[in-house]
Symmetry: C2
Subunit: 334 residues, 2 copies
């Protein structure tokens, strides 16, 4: 791999695409050249990498000639259609959609957990689901120390996880309510302002949403832990940015709050924020725009004989998407 | 007990007190006379029961002469100080605070679950914690059918659970943010607008909040189920009214979604709202101001061998407070 790779961002004008550009810049990723790709309606828009202005080009199957790494974040159908063309052109794809995640030939990577899996790629590397990635940032270090058997988790997911239109929807609905006007809906099936929706992604015949099943399925693959079990409820909340997850985790080896605290305080990409007596615990409002996830509210689980409760929060546009993708690109050029 | 009792409301001008007056009126409770009591600063305010205007009087230890039933909702310290005086004056106290709930001589009652316990009172009957009451409205019918062993629960609690000042705080912060002004805090330790706080009630040395422990402690007493276990995370969310709870429940007897649905569809005070394919599930925005709680999102639990996941929502000012108190008063005059 070129040490100063030509990088393309597919879906450059979306909420995650914009964060990808910022993250390449902030982390001083050695970009040789940056190509910004998007659908026809965004062509001609100009975005900046450092002081350099870059014009968005239309995504076609011929877009990938000479590109070394393509970061895709334009939804599963775009990944399905264009990632194979990119691979054919000799490009390595880091895909943020769910489309390739469970494909046995595609590594699914959180660099702090299974960074070595990057090397096994055959052209495509998948970026995990945001809620899963953030949860695993705290769960995996505990798993290494105490062997996790299963978790029970409930999420508090920000609207920016749905995209830029959902951010606008929450802003618009709040404005309508403050002005005493009728609330309009375009993105979510129900009002999201001053409400919570137990509905993220689409429903499966089992009654779970696809989003809820990602924790168990992607968690098994990322942690290399085939018997990991996860019972999850995913809920959208009127927060702009950063997801939070309440977790009960059962372990094989004896666990204590003290031993868990020691493990988590040394975990990469994670900050321990756990001083409830001073009202210090992870909050989506404060973790927004931070690279590190935060974990706190550590306590022994009341309903498990050897379990811990904790609360983890992280910026899902960063660790759940753009940051993780750039970290994978960093592994590629190592 | 007088069939047309003289009723007093202690804390009449608070968020719950106002709902108590409305609930007495809407349910045609046979109020002989209504006395409204509050602290000195609310004295002289006028509130209406049907067409009758009633002036708020100052709460003193002499306030209870001739009163048959006193509904207390003015916080634990007021209950501690004034409930014994009310009992001494021959009044039956229905107390909404947590102060007497775990007292062995005080019944803790959800009428649909353990209404018969009302008869055991010695002057005081306690109204349970709102999150506990709403959760048990769905859990108890399932327990009767399948014997619950333990639950894992995460709450999404509305600001009105904290009181009228917290409603004002959310409104004020939203207005400040929309206007681009600095956000001010008076009630919560952190901004609640566009944020979620894993902090409801105060922290115990174990790392749990008092609120989180109420589910297990009060649940055991209400369900007469001493071995019931509950692992709970309580979270305040920027919703004005109605709490929601995500629950994983393990049972002794074999459970299925179909059998659970049948049980829940017949449960008193509960509506089954469970058609995810039509985006129909309980939502705090829609359950607000309703007497019945709602349950949905029924599915087999992924991490339990014999468990169910469900999502329950209810108006915590009603079933979690005012309605439940009036229902207890109805039991008293039966």
């Amino acid at each position: 791999m070129n040490r100063n790779p030509h990088v393309a961002i597919v879906g450059a004008t979306g909420a995650v695409g914009i964060e990808m550009i910022k993250t390449l810049e902030k982390r001083n990723f050695p970009v040789g050249k940056l190509t910004l790709l998007a659908s026809a309606r965004s062509v001609g828009k100009k975005l900046k990498l450092k002081e350099q202005e870059i014009t968005v080009q239309e995504l076609t199957k011929d877009s990938f000639k000479g590109i070394d790494i393509a970061l895709f974040s334009a939804g599963g159908s775009i990944s399905k259609e264009f990632a194979p063309a990119a691979v054919k052109a000799g490009c390595v794809v880091v895909d943020n959609s769910s489309y390739f995640r469970m494909d046995d030939t595609v590594p699914l990577v959180v660099p702090e957990i299974n960074g070595a899996d990057v090397k096994k790629h055959k052209g495509i590397i998948a970026n995990p689901n945001c809620t899963t990635a953030i949860t695993l940032m705290a769960l995996y270090p505990l798993h290494q120390a105490f062997n996790v058997k299963r978790i029970f988790a409930s999420s508090y997911q920000a609207v920016s996880g749905t995209g830029a239109k959902a951010i606008e929807e929450l802003e618009r609905q709040v404005g309508q309510i403050v002005a005493g006007k009728t609330v309009t809906k375009e993105v979510y099936p129900h009002q999201i302002a001053f409400n919570v929706l137990p509905h993220v992604d689409s429903f499966l015949p089992t009654g779970y949403t696809k989003e809820e099943m990602k924790m168990e399925n992607e968690g098994r693959k990322i942690m290399h832990h085939a018997s990991f079990r996860a019972s999850v409820t995913c809920v959208r909340v009127p927060v702009y940015r950063a997801h939070s997850i309440a977790v009960s985790a059962e372990f094989e080896k004896p666990v204590s709050v003290e031993s868990a605290r020691l493990v988590l305080s040394k975990a990469p990409g994670l900050d321990l924020v756990d001083a409830p007596e001073k009202a210090e615990y992870p909050l989506p409002l404060y973790v927004a725009e931070k690279y590190n996830c935060q974990v706190g509210r550590l306590r022994m689980d009341c309903a498990l004989d050897n379990g811990l409760c904790f609360w983890v929060a992280g910026d899902q546009l960063l660790k759940g998407a753009a940051l993780n993708a750039v970290q994978i690109a960093e592994e590629l050029i190592k």
